[in-house]
């Protein structure tokens, strides 16, 4: 009996100690990004070197996006994430809703060191990435698609097409297929007639579309021949060409590019380290290593200039690739995503 009591006393003490330690010791800096081979690259060139510099461990996690996730964390009080890489809309929404700390731009050498769209009050641009038309050049040889009009042309290119499920991107691409100039896409989409026009254009290929959701799906669809062409993320395409010897090609005119940004969550207990990390990841000597691993454009101008020409040609930021490319309009989508998603779901269900 006495033995038992000793055991439980020790156990209790240990429990109390560990609880006290847990409460006292600050949580390590936690960085959240998109996972996959992108985060593997980030780990090598940002997270691990920064941990060494900091002299403390740096934790990293991955997520799938959604401002609701961030809202839940911030509203719970002290968040368990510090730095998060977010998409354009999450940046816009979260900034107006007060989910992020304001960026100290003096630490980053000023906003003019970055592409204008990458310098936000609440976020620092991390990558420039594109959603674009892609196809397998081993399967389509002489007759290749060059525009969204071709994507819609089921006579010239019989077979299924892959599109990301949801109104975002689908409506823009539909308008371009219908003859709207890339520069005018959002002007047209801001009118009710423009939205109707886009949905009407989508009607034309509705029965030929395979809708994908996760970024790895379009690669699988192309590789298996399930679709003849698909929208995809440019970094994934050049990644699979490199690792699996595929010959997937992309069509830059009419592509839509967007910037992902680093943000610091409101009331982060590691705010200082978080800001230092963002500065570290934005330093030209660190950021310019990224295109070695994955074909994303760099928003820090000096870093972008330091990328070797051969790699730079594959990036969304290359001058030739920017011609007739459209910047994703975050403001349009934060205003309209709910209404248009409901309508898109209804359209799909018809």
């Amino acid at each position: 009996m006495a033995f038992k009591r000793t055991i439980s006393t020790i156990g209790g003490a240990a429990l109390a100690l560990s609880l006290a330690a847990g409460a006292a010791a600050a949580r390590d800096l936690t960085i959240v990004s998109w996972g996959g081979n992108y985060q593997d690259a980030q780990k090598k060139i940002y997270f691990e070197p920064f941990a060494k510099k900091l002299g403390k461990p740096v934790l990293d996690e991955s997520w799938d996006g959604g401002v609701g996730v961030i809202a839940a964390k911030v509203k719970a009080g002290e968040p368990n994430w510090d730095v998060v890489q977010v998409e354009t809309e999450e940046l816009e929404l979260g900034c107006t809703d007060g989910f992020y700390e304001k960026i100290d731009w003096s630490k980053l050498g000023g906003k003019d060191k970055f592409l204008p769209a990458a310098a936000h009050d609440c976020g620092v641009g991390a990558i420039v990435w594109s959603t674009l038309l892609s196809y397998d050049s081993d399967k389509l040889k002489d007759n290749v698609p060059t525009s969204w009009a071709d994507f819609w042309d089921t006579k010239k290119f019989p077979g299924k097409r892959g599109l990301r499920r949801g109104p975002k991107y689908s409506l823009e691409f539909a308008l371009m297929a219908d003859g709207v100039k890339p520069a005018d896409v959002y002007k047209v989409l801001r009118t009710p007639e423009g939205v109707d026009r886009a949905f009407k254009k989508l009607d034309e290929i509705k029965k030929d579309v395979v809708w994908w959701e996760a970024g790895a799906q379009p690669l699988q669809l192309l590789a298996s021949g399930e679709v003849v062409m698909t929208t995809a993320y440019n970094g994934r395409i050049s990644g699979i060409n490199k690792t699996e010897g595929k010959h997937f090609k992309v069509v830059w005119p009419g592509s839509i590019y967007a910037i992902d940004s680093w943000v610091v969550l409101r009331n982060s207990p590691n705010k200082q380290d978080a800001m230092d990390f963002i500065a570290f990841a934005s330093a030209p000597e660190n950021q310019s290593k990224l295109p070695d691993y994955i074909a994303y454009g760099l928003p820090q101008k000096e870093a972008a200039a330091a990328v070797p020409a051969k790699e730079a040609a594959d990036l969304p930021t290359a001058e030739a690739n920017m011609v007739d490319a459209v910047a994703l309009d975050g403001a349009f989508w934060v205003d309209n995503i709910e209404e248009l998603t409901s309508r898109f779901n209804a359209w799909l269900a018809q």
Partner: protein, 394 residues
Amino acid sequence: MSVALRARLTALGLITPLVAFLVVFFFWPLATMMMASVTDGTVRGVMPETAAALSGWDGNTPPSPEMQQALVADLRKPVDQLAFGDAVRRLNSELSGFRSLMSHTTSAVRDAPEGQALDLATVDPRWSETKYWLAVKHAMPLYTDRYLLAAADLERDAAGNIAAVDAGASANRQIMLRTFLIAATVTVLCALIGLPYALIAASATGWVRALLLIAVLLPLWTSLLVRTAAWFILLQNEGLINEALKAIGLISEPLPLIFNRTGVVIAMTHVLLPFMVLPIYSGLLTIPANLMPAAASLGASRLKAFRYVLLPLAFPGLMSGSLLVFMVALGYYITPALVGGPNDQMISSVIAFFATGTANWGMAGALGLILLAVTTVLYLVYGRLSRSPTMVGT
């Protein structure tokens, strides 16, 4: 203290952890989400002066200067940014465009000199339209039925009557119906496969039984994503099944097995089958082995013995298996997203969109509440049906 009372207190003490667990992890979140689907008032909280100014407005006459100045006064005040964000999100969910309108207006108001009247229509022409003011007015009450109505594709028209939303604006009802239909189909298929499977497993002995059970349990220990991806490889046009059928000359064109309802039902049935087999199997194990010979000795044919002896005894297991499969199937969305087509998305994908995509927890809560209500009704019906397992025999 009497012995009985002490015993009762001890018993209470023993279930305290259970009660605490249920309250914290079940009732409290459920109540929070239910409340989120009917409470409003975030807008009133950050715009008290506008609320007062709008209370007398009939909703038809053009917006008055008093209303405008009340809004300007509210926007001038320093506010909790999180609360203000909630209010803007609420307004934008009623009328698209409020986000840009509010951020635009707020910065214009803060830049304008203090104490000077500001014409909002010059800041943004949208402020001269009544529909934006009407949206603000609608957001003022502390409780609302708009989320619940919107979840069922309904809304209040200008006169305040409940009306259907424009055709093509929303399809929640259809998606909800589809969810129940898919769940029911999967349940029936699981029962058709699971019952014979469990019967065979229960009557088998030795390694055959072990093999049969492992075949059911192994998939249960594999990640849902992996199993779904495996189906993807099997079902696609150039997948194993189509290639095999082509090789033996049964088909010349690949069968459309994926990105449609067939694919979803096949994959979900496979994933959920263990939830059907295991309850039936464990029920069958408790049936004495000599019941069937006894029925035979009384002159029953094998079919009759099965129909009147074995089936009624397996019935409770079949019922609880069906309930499990149906309930779990209702919440699926990864499998339909990966192997389904445009018409196979289930309601949880819509709930997930509102919960994580736009942080519109009112809408997510309302859709969840309706799903819960319909499921509860179905459960009650089911409870009545499953109470009398002997009904098959009478």
